[in-house]
Amino acid sequence: MDYFLQLFLSGLTKGSIYALIALGYTMVYGIIQLINFAHGEIYMIGAFTALIVASVLTILGFSGLSILILAGIAAVIYSSAYGYTMEKIAYRPLRNAPRLSPLISAIGMSIFLQNYVLLAQTSDFLPFPALIPEFEFLKPVSHIMSSAELVIILSSAVIMVLLTFFIKFTRMGKAMRATAQDKKMARLVGIDVDKVISLTFIVGSSLAALGGILIASHIGQINFYIGFIAGIKAFTAAVLGGIGSIPGAVLGALILGWTESFATGYVSSDYEDVFAFALLVLILIFRPAGILGKSSAQKV
């Protein structure tokens, strides 16, 4: 039972991180029907920013949690700037081009950012400080759940609740949904569609950056390539849940996290990806739009 719980929680942790990244994919897809392949790189840049800021703060004598928070804020701001700029220079000029063009542009952006960090930093794995302190009260159950896992699960949950609130109830959130559903009409009621799209990229990038710093301090090392792997997984999660759907992204991410965790625990860690992607293939065969995806039939 302990073993099962342990796998369940580590799957939940993984799933939470995938969810934070998958939300960016799904929100961007929902609004401009683009698979932003460079989204994983934003997550990687978030982790690198956090590493640099955390190193400086450590030298200055700050401690654990305060470093985590400050580095998190820095990572969010820096990654948002990247996301905003990326949309402006790589996607906006292609807004009216055939759909394949921005997709190629996204892949180019991804390769560019990976190699830029490779050259500016290093190709080696860099150690990432464990910014999440060990909590005393978790001692008795530390063989089941680490404090890093607890922090990741809780903070992801809080972030997702805030996001849901923002999208559902604020005027800007409603404008985002309106823009996703009908861009022309959004313009006609006075919504500045370009601004809404920029905001979507900023929100998505912030979530990815938070995911980046949380997982980096859990796993303890980063390199320029982590964004690619995490990006593919999160993209899978978004498709699994139904791309364009926000609850779908979270659900898909959790299912993916658990699948990987249980496959590793009960079969072998070699089979982690086999099970994850087999699940994707199965779901796409039986539910092509994803678990919560809207079918394309629409009343005219």
């Binding site: 005027r171 309106a178 022309k184 959004a186 006609l188 500045d192």
Partner: protein, 235 residues
């Protein structure tokens, strides 16, 4: 109030409007009638800034608006109910109405207008928590008009409000249009294929053919004009 001077609008290489000019005075209902593809919708989209005319100018209260972005044009008080209604399908009725007031900051005023709209359209009040896409065609048209009214427009652009609706509902919609003009003094620019109905509510009318304005007159004179009768009224 609105002056369109010699605009020409293109879609790629295809010219949709040729030197179109028309004028709307404050407080009147004018209508633009014409066959499919005559350029009526393009004219309205040009006013709203969704497409930009290549040449010519559009003045609203003397100010040029033909190079402005659509949201700035809405801010100036020009709202459009586009052809086919364009309800946000997955937003609820009340969220759709809220989006109509997107640029307004006066919470109290918005609340009051919302209540007024629910009084005017009890059907919408009943369905306020239902998704817009689930409404019937007539209800959607009422929602689309209400959504535009939520912006408190000075000039309301209506594109084919009768499209695809049952005759009884069309009657209702036109009653509402008259009521809007009488109660709030909103100026209305109505584009319609149902020329008969449109000319009956309008003060003045313009006739459009293949991208050009070919006639303009008082609505009552157009109704009795032999050419208009033959071409658009089916008499």
């Amino acid at each position: 109030m609105l002056e369109i001077n010699n605009i020409s609008t293109f879609y790629g290489n295809i010219q949709a409007l040729h030197d179109v000019s028309l004028k709307i005075n404050e407080g009147e209902i004018i209508t633009l009638i014409g066959a499919n593809g005559a350029g009526k919708t393009t004219t309205l989209l040009s006013v709203s800034g969704i497409v930009q005319p290549k040449s010519g100018e559009i003045l609203f209260k003397g100010e040029p608006i033909h190079r402005m972005k659509p949201d700035k044009i809405v801010q100036m008080g020009i709202c459009q109910v586009p052809e086919g209604r364009h309800i946000f399908p997955y937003l609820t009725v009340s969220e759709n109405l809220d989006m109509g007031a997107f640029l307004r900051k006066d919470r109290e005023g918005i609340k009051k207008d919302l209540e007024q709209i629910y009084d005017l359209f009890p059907r919408l009040a009943e369905r306020r928590h239902q998704q817009g896409g689930t409404l019937s065609g007539g209800e959607q048209q009422m929602l689309a008009i209400s959504r535009a009214l939520m912006a408190r427009p000075r000039l309301l652009l209506l594109d084919e409000p009768s499209l695809g609706l049952a005759p009884l509902i069309v009657q209702q919609i036109f009653e509402i249009i008259k009521k809007i003009k009488e109660e709030s003094g909103t100026t209305i620019f109505l584009v319609e294929q149902n020329a008969n109905l449109a000319l009956k509510v309008a003060d003045r009318g313009y006739v459009m053919e293949t991208g050009r304005v070919t006639m303009e007159d008082k609505a009552s004179s157009l109704l009795s004009n032999e050419d208009v009768k033959k071409a658009y009224l089916g008499i």
